[in-house]
Symmetry: C2
Subunit: 346 residues, 2 copies
């Protein structure tokens, strides 16, 4: 069946092909195959829901992104949103918009990537739908998590004096995307690429919520600058970020040096870093240390401070300036339409 197209296989066969791979835990009372899925909420927990779509040619490009990574990313971006709320992921629904000519093997590989990530986080695919589209392949995932009532992390809790942190390293995903676009081989195995297989910070988010270490939290899907602005706006505060503190990997620094580009700028505005930005009251540093102990080797870096005055600034040796405009999906820069000149300098 490796060269069956969707049109030749048919919708029912395709659904069976996918649902045959799923197993349902006891809290799923009705899984795929009915009009809707039915799940028993955890006693005393809140439902947390999020949805995010990924479109070929906008969020990924099948010409250089392997199908497993497409499936992985479609779920990962949603788990990252749940992580940013401090929620434990439980279940997902998948809408697949498929062009007629897509190979069934490609869909199988997409599901491989999606289900491998789901399994690692004990997320059950409880339903979804498949439709044809005359446009590009698109995956829209809705993820459902749960969180105890007073453990929710929102964007709105930052207060002046809070310290600003990020998980992981910034800018790797943006650099890797540019390398893939240019047809070059990544310096890391695909499975370790932050762009192709971003690891949603599910455990970190839960730990930060569980012991109430963080006063606010957001994921960096559209870059650090965007997240900082959004948290500041939602909390009614400002933020000053220390450029020298931004965690940037050696690979990413060297790549920028070769290309004559500014790594700080990429760390601030590069999309696809599914890390967490969060704030911590100085009085709660002990709680943060408690959470850190259980996070394994995930780097956590203090990058700035929350200010009373509402601007979002970045400070370096030359002084202080506003953070650059974040990525907007309908405007100016388009992640997948980078001018080749940008990477030709290397």
């Amino acid at each position: 069946l490796s060269h069956s197209t969707v049109s030749s296989l048919g919708e029912h066969a395709l659904i069976s092909r996918i649902t045959a791979r799923l197993a349902m835990p006891p809290w799923v009372l009705v899984g795929p195959g009915d009009d809707a899925a039915v799940i028993a909420p955890e006693r005393g927990a809140l439902d947390v829901l999020t949805t995010d779509a990924q479109v070929d040619g906008v969020h990924f490009d099948l010409r250089f992104v392997p199908p497993e990574a497409v499936g992985h990313r479609a779920l990962a971006v949603n788990l990252s949103d749940l992580a940013a709320m401090g929620a434990a992921p439980r279940a997902a629904l998948l809408s697949l918009l498929l062009p007629d000519a897509i190979d069934v093997e490609v869909i199988d590989r997409i599901m491989d990537g999606l289900l491998a990530l789901a399994m690692r986080h004990r997320v059950t695919l409880i339903g979804g739908n498949i439709t044809r589209t005359p446009g590009p392949l698109a995956l829209d995932v809705t993820a459902i998590g749960s969180v105890r009532p007073r453990r929710v992390l929102t964007r709105g809790g930052a207060r002046p004096g809070d310290e600003v942190y990020v998980t992981g390293m910034l800018g790797d995903a943006a650099v890797q995307l540019r390398e893939l676009q240019a047809g070059r081989t990544l310096p890391v195995p695909h499975g370790e690429s932050r762009y192709l297989f971003p690891e949603p910070r599910v455990r970190a988010g839960q730990l930060l919520g569980r012991n109430r270490a963080a006063s606010s939290c957001m994921d960096l899907s559209d870059g650090l600058a965007d997240a900082a602005r959004q948290v500041a706006a939602a909390s009614g505060v400002g933020m000053t970020i220390d450029a020298a503190a931004l965690p940037i990997s050696d690979n990413t620094r060297e790549w920028h040096e070769r290309a004559g580009l500014d790594a700080i700028d990429t760390a601030l505005t590069g999309g696809d870093d599914y890390e967490l930005l969060f704030t911590v009251r100085p009085a709660h540093r002990g709680r943060l240390r408690g959470a850190l102990k259980e996070m394994g080797d995930l780097p956590i870096t203090r990058i700035g401070v929350v200010t009373k005055q509402g601007d979002v600034l970045v400070r370096d040796e030359r002084g202080t300036r506003e953070v650059p405009e974040g990525y907007e999906h309908f405007r100016s820069s388009d992640r997948l339409r980078v001018a080749p000149g940008e990477v030709e300098g290397r």
Copy 2:
């Protein structure tokens, strides 16, 4: 702003434009504007979740479907799935895949239609996302409802001897689609069109579940033949449908006579009738009567019987035959690519 395009307005402005129209009830702890929505589940109730995408050129066509109907339908098809489970709808998430050149006014009108239906059913839009697409406009809605543990209606409960019922009339939506495709005016106001503004049978579904009148239930998104086959397969039974009993409106009968086509065939295979198919044990007719009393003027018609033997048959004056193949989204007939000859006979 009536001629702003999505590209000129920008993503954040567009999200604000939509979220400014929403009000959150107290059980929504975190609504739009954060990484995910947080809702408090009803005590003792189960979560019911469903997702369905609608794509321009596949499920509707903006050339002859007004934007309000596009928004209405995107939510309606999901509420119809919740209704088929006996669930009370509570909340929805919306993924909008927008071509760059789409007018903001069109999006406003889509939201008008979606939110008007949401308001009538007290459904809160708790979140979603917007992305650009190089392909056609697509809306993917995830709807969340709740149901008491022993009130869930599934496709799997039909037993031999049960009676088979449908709500409403069959085939009107298919006829109206063909009329719209041919550029003709509908014989009913747009607001009353089953194709443009299908009314999900939310109250009927809940009533059938609440007093446990129905042994199984499914909605007719892909036509009666498809639903009958799916309920039969899920329940491990057969079904015999009485062609003469199918509820077909005078308009639809007359249209078929003029076109020299078979109205029974359309009633069986025409898609987009978001009615409910359900089965009732003969011993539970009293429960059904109880539910009917509260359904107002919604017609409920007995159309057949559940059989032990696994075929799904239709019986008319000429004898008994298998029901025709249902609609499959990736195969053969495509709702929006009907051969013009089919309607030219009138």
